[in-house]
């Protein structure tokens, strides 16, 4: 983020595509592998992440002139953790079933590198509103990639989408897709397709 004054449209496009946190920055891989075997859990986890990146970027940016440099990461972690726990309490109160299914995953958003990465790389240097937009854009960039991975994994691994069986009885479930290696395979193939084909021209310019 060397631009003096990033424009809103650019920031959103970067987060979603050009500087996508999963494809380009290769961040947040642990959760990409862990939650994407079931589409529904992935969706809720992603909503949590968008909520957290948006609000933590906003809060860190508000505090950016006050935060002493040497403790900035502690402060960021504190802010991120607070927002994640707020989200956790909200879904516990309103969506108890999904909260139970997600269990530890929600807490793991705290350690998601994308949240801390955006706070460090963007929010510390920019105004609150555009920081929030950057957080949300990156969260959504992460979301569409995870949903794509989850779609493939649940379809091949369980023959279903959103828990609804879409492939007939003739389909033999690929158990490996439900387990962690399935996440590696699908993500690697997706990164290969996207970086190798779609982002090649950009890499060349760099």
């Amino acid at each position: 983020m060397t631009l003096a004054k990033p424009r809103m449209g650019r920031v959103i496009f970067d987060g979603l595509f050009a500087n996508n946190p999963v494809f380009v920055q290769v961040l947040g891989i642990c959760s990409t592998l862990a939650v994407t075997n079931v589409f529904e859990n992935t969706l809720v986890m992603c909503i949590g992440l968008v909520f957290t990146t948006g609000l933590s970027n906003f809060s860190v940016s508000l505090l950016r002139s006050l935060i002493p440099g040497r403790i900035r990461m502690i402060v960021e972690t504190l802010v991120i953790a607070s927002w994640v726990i707020v989200f956790d309490i909200i879904i516990k109160a309103t969506l108890p079933e999904i909260s139970k299914a997600l269990g530890a995953y929600v807490g793991l958003i705290i350690t998601n590198c994308i949240v801390m990465g955006r706070a460090e790389a963007f929010a510390l240097a920019n105004k609150p509103l555009i920081s929030m937009a950057d957080g949300i854009a990156n969260g959504l960039g992460y979301t569409w990639v995870l949903l794509a991975v989850a779609f493939v994994r649940e379809l091949l691994g369980s023959g279903s989408i959103f828990g609804v069986r879409v492939l007939g009885e003739w389909w033999t479930n690929w158990n490996i897709m439900v387990m962690a290696p399935g996440g590696f395979f699908v993500l690697a193939i997706l990164i290969w397709i996207v970086r190798g084909r779609m982002l090649r021209s950009k890499e060349g310019v760099r």
Binding site: N37, I67, P68, I71, I89, I90, K92, P96, A104, M179
Partner: protein, 247 residues
């Protein structure tokens, strides 16, 4: 007292960290207090539903039906160790002459030790005090995707008709032996915890039920009637044959 600028910066750092921690904690406390009652209600409902699942009863969606089942068919007791035990009866009597409602079984509060922490569950035991009805895990902190799979419905349901002392077999064995159940690949420690929890419940069940029956004439009557009934009937527990089919 005069501070050098370096010292002042350090003091500000400590003060800032303290202030922001207090601020974040206050917000969290506020959110927590505001939703505490709602979360508690949700937890109670979830626990009641799990209890019915452990007894292989149909689980209603609406709260009113759930409360009706609990006030009509479910009765709470505690054993000597302070663990909860529930007796479950039929909803309506199948015997119009006496009007007595048959005992379906008992649900025990089970506690075990998993890999990362405690496991709590409802363990359904048939009225014969020997065979399991089902198992519903209510609390655990196991690894998602591995040990955490103990709360998947198939895992609990496979225990129907099983009896102690239980031994775990590899996943998808689907053993026809009443003392064997399917474990979960990659979750040996968790399965060990569940197995010993179930074995403890099963070995204590006859003693626990005898103890609570001594304090409740109604229950001891029901247990007595069940025993007399099953001595002349090949269908123990009064559970329909269809449900008894093993996994």
């Amino acid at each position: 007292m005069k501070f050098s600028s370096k010292r002042r910066e350090r003091i500000f750092t400590v003060f800032f960290m303290f202030a922001i921690s207090v601020f974040c904690i206050s917000i969290l406390t506020g959110v927590y207090l505001a939703s505490r009652d709602r979360i508690r209600v949700n937890q109670t409902l979830a626990s009641k539903r799990a209890l019915l699942a452990a007894a292989r009863m149909p689980v209603p969606d609406d709260q009113r039906t759930l409360d009706a089942i609990f006030s009509n068919q479910v009765k709470a007791y505690t054993n000597a160790g302070g663990r909860a035990i529930y007796s479950i009866r039929q909803g309506a009597s199948s015997d119009p002459s006496s009007g007595r409602r048959q005992l379906l079984g008992f649900v025990f509060e089970g506690r075990g030790q998993g890999l990362w922490g405690g496991i709590r569950a409802w363990v359904g035991v048939r009225a014969d005090r020997k065979h399991l009805m089902s198992l519903a895990i209510t609390e655990h902190s196991e690894t998602p995707g591995l040990g955490a799979r103990i709360d998947e419905p198939w895992f609990g349901k496979q225990f129907s008709g099983k009896t102690g002392p239980l031994t775990a077999r590899p996943e998808k064995t689907a053993s026809s032996l009443a003392t064997e159940f399917d474990g979960i690949t990659g979750a040996t420690a968790t399965i060990d915890g569940v197995r010993s929890m179930l074995n403890t419940v099963l070995s204590n069940a006859p003693g626990d039920i005898a103890a609570i029956a001594r304090t409740d004439a109604d229950l001891s009557n029901a247990v007595f009637l069940y025993d007399a009934h099953s001595a002349t009937n090949k269908n123990p527990g009064g559970i329909p044959r269809k449900e008894e089919a093993g996994p």
